[in-house]
Symmetry: C2
Subunit: 174 residues, 2 copies
DNA sequence: GCAAATAAGTTGTCCCGTCAACTATTGCGG
DNA sequence: CCGCAATAGTTGACGGGACAACTTATTTGC
């Protein structure tokens, strides 16, 4: 039986098992903490953060969907729920009346301010506390190389910094 | 306003954005290819692979759930569907009559043999083709360090190698 | 040995995401 | 300009996963 498939060697296989395990467990860990402490899924958190970081805290639905790797129907459902909770507001775009703009509300910003510290703690506890400075740099490079394949247009990474002294914190600081 | 939260610095924030993007995109890419070419989700693929690699191609439901990071109800639903498709069989465990054993069938092994090459190709195309040998080693170490936090019991990684000349391939060759 | 506690699975319900269909608006070719 | 394709977004139906309730079997404690 001929087999021209280039199977993974031992090193690749071992690394793959670990990478898959991380990709499997990390979202669950983030969701669990955010749901428990702020009633938000990680997806909702990212979407709200994207709005908070946007100019005038407003973004088109299509743009937001692209940045968060969501389909438009998914984002529409999520936006409806967030709007019902008073965390965002939607209104038709003046320039293109097909489009809808979403804005994070003050209540939304308050919730983000409340949720962010616990989330950052979780990120540290699960990831960065385990890494050296050197490994942090390596992770950045490796993830970048993989993303060049998975996300060649850089839809997900074309975002301003999310956790340092960004617009949200500035907003909170007044 | 005092704030004792240790926010992410620029390097950490940049690495985090990329890591989250990978964790977000990778499962979708794997699911898409496997669903298209074999009608299997990545979760089903991993579950079948775990069975194929198990001694006598059989495993307890609880053990399989633990290895695949699934709740027991979820695995039960998935197992029912896989059984309806003739890919696995379930039968009560003789030693503990509470328990259920799952076995992958010949049809299941055939499907795995059919699906594996395309899956490995996808893994290479999206991950390993982008990495140097040095980065492969770094990825292994970094993912291991993160998993020590996320999965201290090594439930997900206590598996035999999945892609090199393992039991599945031997079964196919024999 | 028996009752209570625990463990293994299954089933049903609810919620979220995907897909398909639909509306409304804009852009484009003739 | 006018008709048609393309774009933006919403809605409803369907399917998968989480959670709770339940059944059955085993273990533990007395």
């Amino acid at each position: 039986m001929t087999d021209d498939t280039k199977w993974l060697n031992a090193e690749e296989s071992a690394a793959w098992v670990r990478l898959i395990a991380v990709a499997e467990l990390l979202p669950g860990a983030l969701d669990a903490q955010l749901l428990r402490d702020a009633g938000l899924t990680h997806f909702e958190y990212v979407a709200l953060m994207a709005l908070a970081d946007a100019p005038s805290r407003t973004m088109r639905m299509t743009e937001l969907a692209s940045r968060t790797n969501a389909t438009l129907p998914r984002l529409s459902h999520v936006a409806r729920r967030l709007e019902e909770r008073g965390l965002i507001r939607r209104f038709p775009c003046p320039e293109d009346r097909r489009a809808t703009n979403a804005t994070i509300t003050e209540a939304g910003l308050d919730l983000m301010a409340e949720a962010a510290p616990g989330h950052v703690d979780t990120v540290r506890a699960n990831v960065f506390d385990a890494l050296t400075a050197e490994q942090l740099e390596q992770l950045y490079v490796i993830a970048g190389a993989v993303l060049a394949k998975l996300d060649p247009d850089e839809r997900l990474t074309a975002t301003s910094c999310q956790f340092s002294e960004g617009p949200v914190v500035r907003t909170l600081a007044g």
